[in-house]
Symmetry: C2
Subunit: 350 residues, 2 copies
Amino acid sequence: MKPTRGYAVHAADAKFEPFDFERRELGARDILIEIMYCGICHSDIHQARNEWQNSIYPMVPGHEIVGRVKETGSEVSKFREGDIAGVGCFVDSCRTCRNCTDGHEQFCRKHVAVTYNGTEMDEKTPTFGGYSSQIVVDEDYALKITAKDKLANIAPLLCAGITTYSPLKRFNVGAGQKVGIVGLGGLGHMGVKIAASMGADVTVFSTSPSKEQDARKLGAHNFVITKNPENMAALAGTYDFILDTVSAPHDLNIYLSLLGVNGAMVLVGAPEKPSEIHAFSLIGNNRTLSGSMIGGIPETQEMLDYCAEHNITSDVEIIPIQKIEEAYERTIKSDVRYRFVIDMQSLDKA
Amino acid sequence: MKPTRGYAVHAADAKFEPFDFERRELGARDILIEIMYCGICHSDIHQARNEWQNSIYPMVPGHEIVGRVKETGSEVSKFREGDIAGVGCFVDSCRTCRNCTDGHEQFCRKHVAVTYNGTEMDEKTPTFGGYSSQIVVDEDYALKITAKDKLANIAPLLCAGITTYSPLKRFNVGAGQKVGIVGLGGLGHMGVKIAASMGADVTVFSTSPSKEQDARKLGAHNFVITKNPENMAALAGTYDFILDTVSAPHDLNIYLSLLGVNGAMVLVGAPEKPSEIHAFSLIGNNRTLSGSMIGGIPETQEMLDYCAEHNITSDVEIIPIQKIEEAYERTIKSDVRYRFVIDMQSLDKA
């Protein structure tokens, strides 16, 4: 077994502390990645604190992982020692169901081995995430990263990047289209960058006037303060696509009203309570409300390659793992532009 | 002016009675259609009784109109005297906005002159519908009907037909796909026929076991009683597309759970109250909930041509206009298979 250092929480109300555990010995198709950077996703906080009532402790969160390949199993063909590799939100699936064979492994009909707070395909062995020194993963569930620098900025692509890229791609966002991004946080700021790179005319919808300058710097062409109903009414029926990244409860009908004929809005944030949708919000203009959850391995690789080609990375604030509690508090307050990323070298100081 | 006979209601709680009114003299691009048949749409009842709080009286309902062209204006090119023509849910729009020029006239951004209970483009002159002897309409808003017989069965295509065809077409329903139709009424029975004609494997979801035989006769391959939760759970994630034709309140999340990856459900019925949608119902499997409202003129013509080619018409019960009140009551009780159509020759007996 591979002795591994990490940071874990042991209960919903506990603080993080250093945690030693073991990764499995490499199988023929496994690679061992020395983790360099791991992003902090808001879902890490929900799960560390058992806010989704499904937490398994001890928990080592982290599913925005970038590192260097240190060992490869005998049959590994996609990676060589020294390569940069990424791991996202899941590390295995059944590989045989229709969703897996279609490249939508995140919706595997049998079992998705999520990167942490889950179990391996035996549905028993707990998985531990990226707040740790290394990870062993089947090469089919690792992503190739061609960049050599800005690796901390690439880490959040593994979740925030694919979460926003996938729906923009699925709905064929491109030049000549008006695209709205609701919320300018970890997800929203990636949505702005990617939508703008696709050629769309991008509007950020936000409650915070203070974010306008940033929004424009990230690539947005317009900025709308949502608190003013007149601002919203004036835009009725004028958008082709809206990406809603907000998890807090909010009225979706207002945003749906902004869509033109056959326009679509996609939820990537997940409010805890159901949203009330008026049928006429959808029937008028043949509007669509859709949801999106990360992406499969082929599309995640496509997104990484796309971002490399278009020079897109995440705006990050790099922290040592010893500052994890402070980073969580600041993430909850949206006091981060726009993603915290843990520098795993800091584990050595633990 | 053209003296015209019809049946009208004069108040929300009034009964229908004979009503004489005038149609306009033909403009250069107008045609006069002698109405042979007019279908009874559930929305006729909602509006006759002011259930949508927007009724204009006196009201002559009816927007599933088929008849014979009797006169043509000097510049008319699409129709000749003696042709069979149809009129659907609207008789004019601005013709210049993006939605009109894109062929989505039903979503005209300026004004849609709906066939009844609305106004012409002057936004003053009231429109009167198909429960009448004749109608004058701009040829651009009339549809060509090539069939010579079964014209009563064709009338409901002008609303029920296009309402179901448009979303099936928009979501590329076809061979190899599993399609669900929720509700087997005027809309649902058209949905079954059209989806089956497109090659899909069609399931009718219904609360009424008594409808199974009919569903299969109409072309459905499967029939599911929705009252049994086990029936529904067993089908989770297996449908590509669901057309929901039910206007009564019902839990949409249950149907969304039946959709596989990138599956879509479209509402064509409109419950009065908003529906509660769980974000995870959409985010799981990247599901889509959409709405659809009739169709533009080009797509309505496409639908009529498609139905002619595939020998698809509506199952109807033909009534004289004197039985309109009885037909309304039976429509409300879903006691019709599957659409009442008024034989306008019965006006002569009034």
